[in-house]
């Protein structure tokens, strides 16, 4: 048992934690479920660290851990196994590291909830499934984790199941994800048909031999569909805002830091496959860029403290898709890493606010909380600056790397890179703008609290604020792993880079600096515009709330933003309503036409007569058949006797 292979125990430890809390939860007193769950995840983190150091010492930088034989069908067979390499270890560290902080935070956040142990069982189960997803060495095992995290997401979004909104949000997430899962399944079927295996390493090795062929492109598009479902990208993005019905730490862990990045991971994991198909890669990049823009636009005028962050997550995932779409696989994962820190921090900060205000989520009823909640306010400010791309914070480095790689990509031809770059730069401005609005409306400016919220107001306990501080530190420093390559040492690109066919131009140094200047400008411009729009008016008008609603009511753009371009309404009409009508039509046909048609076939004369008569027709036919059957039996037996 090497240092690396001990990591194989990580998902099973988390599973054990889930099992204990799930089965014996009712008998465990309050701090115990969270202690068990946090211990399980903490053990996972230690194991991941061991694997990390073990891997750094391995010259080949990859270790396979076989588990057991699973499927068998002719030439097709499947063995379950884990692969530990820089990519999976990085994700494991994020999952267990951020996971541990969120488990600790949850111990305070879920205090006194009647479903305390059920909550931690779900959270541990999620960690187990997510670890399986990233450690899988085959598409099949990855899909097991993939659906597993979907199930946990369903369980935790619908955690407070007594409210219809929550149950509906959970249902929607599950069903939309199933659409993506069909893409994954079909992708696997086509993979077996093309390569005869589901082993990711084998497929990665074989895919470049088919570079540019239609089948690889179709494969890429099918896996893209899967990725769009899990990572809430166009056109399957609609479930994520509704998923905010779950407890806020769940939003932080599942719907910001880890699960929703699975689509990015899938593409990075199959980088050689995607690099062999410029067509599918371009689709990934465009889906990402358009999603980033659309979601940032929607984030501009949301009024729910969590919905803004949800759209922001969709938008940031779009950045990551753009990165892996243009072939910058390590850059995508780098943004997964930094985003995990600052977005988890934003959600936990939001949770801290919601907790402090006794459940209030409307930012119109917040404001000025910074002076009451120093830790939450300060750490949230750091996260806001980080996600906005302010220089020297983590988000700046990863976002700048994305923008630079999109601009210099050679995987996508023509004006594609330039157009993508323009869209993403605009989105970066919008990101800084809406994040300023988020921060300002919550933590600065006038207090617009309701009386009950005010009476409730308090800074969160240590068990919640310490994770905030740790995440804030990480949101600052994690960017230094990936300094711009052209002038500085870059630790993470060498660690994560997989050899693929994707290449990048190397523009002159001045251009590189210019790109950095543009990124910086975008961030500062967005923040500045945000200040002009929201910050400057703080004293000028006492009726700030009406001002904003009036603007939203007046503008077509405002309404479009508020409804996120009306995707929900359109889907409701196109798929939900018509799907229901189709199902009811099928049901009616099945109950009437097929049956009466059969009755007609059984006895044409009876058709159209009363039900009783039809039944008697059945009896007659039945009796006749029995008789004929018996006669035939006698006849054949008789014949056989004659023969003998």
């Amino acid at each position: 048992m090497t240092l690396v292979s001990v990591a194989a125990a990580a998902p099973f430890v988390a599973l054990l934690g889930a099992l204990i809390n799930g089965v014996f939860g009712k008998r465990l007193r309050e701090p115990l479920p969270s202690a068990i769950a946090a211990t399980a995840v903490g053990t996972g983190f230690v194991l991941s660290l061991l694997a990390f150091f073990g891997l750094a010492a391995l010259p080949e930088r990859t270790a396979r851990i076989p588990l057991w034989s699973y499927l068998q069908g002719g030439a097709f067979s499947l063995e379950l196994g884990f692969v530990i390499d820089p990519l999976s270890v990085t994700l494991m560290l994020i999952i267990t590291g951020v996971g541990l902080l969120i488990h600790v935070y949850s111990a305070g956040y879920m205090h006194h909830d009647p479903g305390y142990s059920r909550y931690f069982a779900g959270l541990n189960l999620f960690v187990a499934a997510m670890l399986i997803l990233v450690m899988a060495d085959s598409f099949f095992l990855m899909f097991l984790g993939w659906e597993g995290v979907g199930v946990c997401s369903y369980l935790l979004i619908g955690f407070w199941y007594a409210y219809k909104e929550n149950a509906d949000g959970a249902r929607k997430a599950f069903i939309v994800n199933r659409v993506g899962d069909v893409g994954f399944l079909l992708g696997m079927f086509l993979t077996v048909r093309t390569f005869g295996t589901l082993d990711i390493a084998e497929v990665n090795a074989a895919a470049p031999l088919l570079a540019g062929s239609a089948v690889v492109t179709v494969l890429g598009l099918l896996y893209l569909l899967a990725a769009c479902g899990k990572s809430a990208q166009l056109p399957l993005h609609t479930w994520l805002p509704d998923a905010m019905a779950g407890p806020t730490p769940v939003s932080a862990l599942i719907h910001a830091a880890t699960m929703v990045t699975a689509g990015v991971y899938l593409i990075a994991r199959t980088a050689p496959l995607f690099a062999s198909t410029p067509g599918a890669s371009a689709a990934v990049a465009w889906v990402g860029a358009l999603t980033a823009l659309l979601a940032a636009f929607a984030a501009l005028s949301q009024q729910d403290i969590k919905k803004i962050l949800a759209y922001s997550t969709i938008s940031q995932l779009g950045f990551m898709f753009a990165a892996v779409g243009v072939g910058a696989y390590w850059v995508g994962i780098f943004h997964v890493l930094t985003h995990a820190f600052f977005k988890a921090l934003l959600f936990l900060g939001a949770g801290s606010v919601i907790h402090a205000l006794g459940g209030e989520q409307d930012i119109r009823k917040m404001g000025g909380l910074g002076k009451h909640m120093k830790v939450t306010g300060t750490t949230s400010l750091i996260a806001v600056l980080a996600i906005s791309g302010v220089p020297f914070l983590s988000g700046f480095f990863s976002k700048d790397a994305i923008l630079a790689h999109v601009y210099t990509s050679e995987l996508i031809g023509g004006y594609g890179p330039l157009a993508l770059y323009g869209i993403l730069l605009l989105t970066a401005v919008m990101t800084a703008f809406y994040m300023f609005r988020w921060y300002y409306r919550v933590f600065a400016g006038q207090e617009r609290l309701t009386a009950s919220a005010r009476s409730h107001l308090h800074e969160s306990p240590r068990v919640m604020s310490v994770p905030l501080i740790i995440l804030a530190v990480l949101s600052v420093v994690s960017g230094y792993l990936g300094l711009p390559e052209f002038a500085f040492p870059n630790l993470i690109s060498g660690w994560l880079e997989t050899p693929t066919a994707a290449t990048f131009r190397h523009p002159p140094l001045t251009t590189e600096w210019l790109l950095i200047g543009l990124s910086t400008t975008a961030a500062l411009l967005g923040l500045g515009l945000g200040y002009l729009r929201y910050g400057r008016r703080r004293e000028s008008t006492k009726t700030e709330t009406p001002t904003e609603t009036t603007t939203a009511r007046a503008g077509v753009l405002g309404r479009a933003s508020g409804s996120a371009l009306g995707f929900d309404a359109a889907y409701q009409l196109l798929f939900v309503r018509s799907g229901e009508r189709l199902a009811q039509g099928f049901r009616d046909v099945d109950e009437d036409v097929v049956e009466s048609g059969l009755r007609g076939a059984v006895n044409a004369d009876e058709l159209g007569r009363s039900v009783a008569q039809v039944q008697s027709g059945f009896v007659r036919v039945y009796a006749l058949l029995m008789l004929v059957g018996l006669a035939a039996l006698v006849l054949v037996v008789a014949l056989a006797r004659v023969g003998a």
Partner: protein, 497 residues
């Protein structure tokens, strides 16, 4: 040992008819426990063969090799808690019901193990009689009508099969009705003859599978059965049409199978999606489960008719696994009925508050049923669809869409039963109910996590079917790799006899 798997439940059933009431439960428990132990030992057991009516070439021939033993195993795993549970919840004429239940198990084990076609037919009809009687005597108000409909479909289907079975020997000149004698003989029959015989078998198996449009009996069968759900479980075990194709129709008539299976594949793919979509629109729990189960059978069908080993293995695995999940859901429907006296979903809601453990168990079994990986149905479903996809991309792809509809009816059902606001409190899961569900839960996990041994056993029998699989090419590393899918099927030339 193999004969014992049939004899234990059969003799116990007879014993129940004469035993005093008080002993009934003990007989049932002992019988099902020992049948399960026998089923577990079957892989090590040898076959059984005695002449039956030798002049007619009839043999009492049973073999535990292959897929049959897997099906016997899951049936035993389901029957153990179901029969025990039934001894408490079926309060009218309990002894007779339990006897029928065990007789049903005996017949099922027989038809899974039979190696003689006439013997198979006897067990096939024996199980039918048991399930019709359960429906006709213990069913609900509409039982008479439902039973007649069921019987009409089944008899109309199997009558032609009987004729075809009896015609097999004279036509092929085989020495007996044993598969070992029949197989080489019938495979050499000319295509025209094979086609007629295959179609006769197809009718019987398609009704039982069931395939659209021969499924009309199914929703009523389940809706009208005893509200405890026990008889539905027995009915679920008896959905053996896929088994008939796998074990008999396809190996016996390979040339005809090549010609007809594309149409059957299309019907099965349609059944899978059609039924899953209808399930989303059901307002009655039992009808919802009936259509969900029909959809699973469609997926079994696409696996079988794809004529790839992956699909054939997967289909039989799914057939075995769905006994656990569908059986579990029918038992749960009965448990819910005992609380609310209704199967209408509108009568439910918010039960998770007062019955959290029952809610968790239901959700677990529902997830197994809709094919969540790691649970029992997924390996079989995956391989069935994989095989169908290998045969025909469009039909296999179409059948895969059932996965979405399954997600819809699964979570919708759970929401309507357990989520949102509670109308009134119900008791949480009782000890007896937990005992009834526990073996199923264990089975669901076991079949979901370690499918390989069973799949390998199934494959030893699946190779009897002439498939489109290319010969295995061993790579230097030792890992088998399928030949490119573009390779022409190996059996194309055999059609023109």
């Amino acid at each position: 040992m193999t004969l014992v798997a049939v004899l234990i439940p059969l003799l116990s059933a007879l014993l129940l008819l004469v035993a005093p009431r008080a002993l009934g439960r003990a007989v049932v428990l002992l019988s099902t426990v020992f049948t399960l132990l026998t089923a577990l030992a079957l892989p090590q057991a040898g076959g059984f063969e005695r002449p039956w009516i030798e002049p007619f070439g009839l043999y009492l021939s049973l073999s535990p090799a292959g897929a049959g033993s897997v099906l016997v195993l899951t049936a035993a795993l389901v029957m153990l808690p179901t029969a025990f549970y039934a001894s408490f919840v079926v309060r009218e004429r309990t002894g007779g019901f339990l006897a029928l239940l065990l007789a049903m198990q005996a017949a099922l084990n027989g038809l899974f193990l039979a190696q003689d076609l006439v013997l198979f037919y006897v067990f096939w009809e024996g199980a039918l009689v048991a399930s019709v009687l359960m429906l006709g005597i213990w069913g609900r108000e509409g039982r008479r009508q439902a039973a007649l409909k069921y019987l009409t479909y089944a008899v109309a289907g199997s009558f032609l099969m009987l004729v075809a079975i009896l015609a097999l020997r004279p036509l092929s000149g085989a020495a007996s009705f044993r598969l070992s004698d029949l197989l080489p003989a019938t495979q050499a029959l000319p295509l025209g003859t094979q086609l007629w015989l295959f179609l006769a078998f197809t009718l019987a198996f398609a009704v039982k599978l069931p395939l659209w449009p021969l499924h009309g009996w199914l929703p009523d069968f389940h809706e009208q059965n005893h509200p405890s759900g026990v008889a539905d479980v027995a009915g679920t075990l008896y959905k053996v049409g896929g088994w008939g194709f796998f074990a008999f129709a396809l190996p016996l008539f390979p040339a005809a199978a090549t010609v007809v299976t594309p149409y059957l594949l299309a019907l099965a793919a349609f059944t899978a999606v059609y039924a899953a979509v209808i399930a989303t629109a059901q307002t009655n729990l039992k009808r919802l489960l009936a259509y969900a189960s029909l959809s699973h059978m469609g997926i079994v069908g696409v696996g079988v008719f794809g004529l790839y080993l992956a699909g054939l293995n997967g289909a039989m695995y799914l057939l075995a696994a769905q006994m656990l999940s569908t059986g579990g859901l029918f038992l749960i429907s009965g448990m819910l009925y005992s609380r609310r006296s209704s199967f209408e979903l509108s009568r439910y809601g918010g039960l998770a508050k007062s019955a959290p453990a029952l809610a968790a168990l239901t959700l677990f079994v529902t997830f197994a049923s809709i094919g969540v990986p790691g649970l029992s149905n997924f390996p079989g479903e995956f391989m069935s669809l994989l095989g169908a996809f290998a045969r025909n991309v469009w039909l296999g792809g179409f059948a895969t869409l059932a996965v979405i509809a399954a997600g819809v009816y699964g979570v919708n059902m759970y929401q309507r039963l357990y989520q949102v606001d509670a109308q009134e409190d119900v008791p949480d899961v009782r000890g007896l109910e937990l005992v009834a569900l526990a073996p199923l839960i264990i089975g669901i996990l076991w079949f979901g996590i370690f499918p390989h041994p069973q799949l390998s056993r199934i494959e030893t029998q699946a190779v009897r079917v002439r498939t489109y699989d290319a010969p295995v090419v061993a790579t230097p590393a030792g890992a088998p790799v399928a030949a490119p899918a573009t390779a022409e099927p190996a059996l194309e030339g055999d059609d023109g006899h």
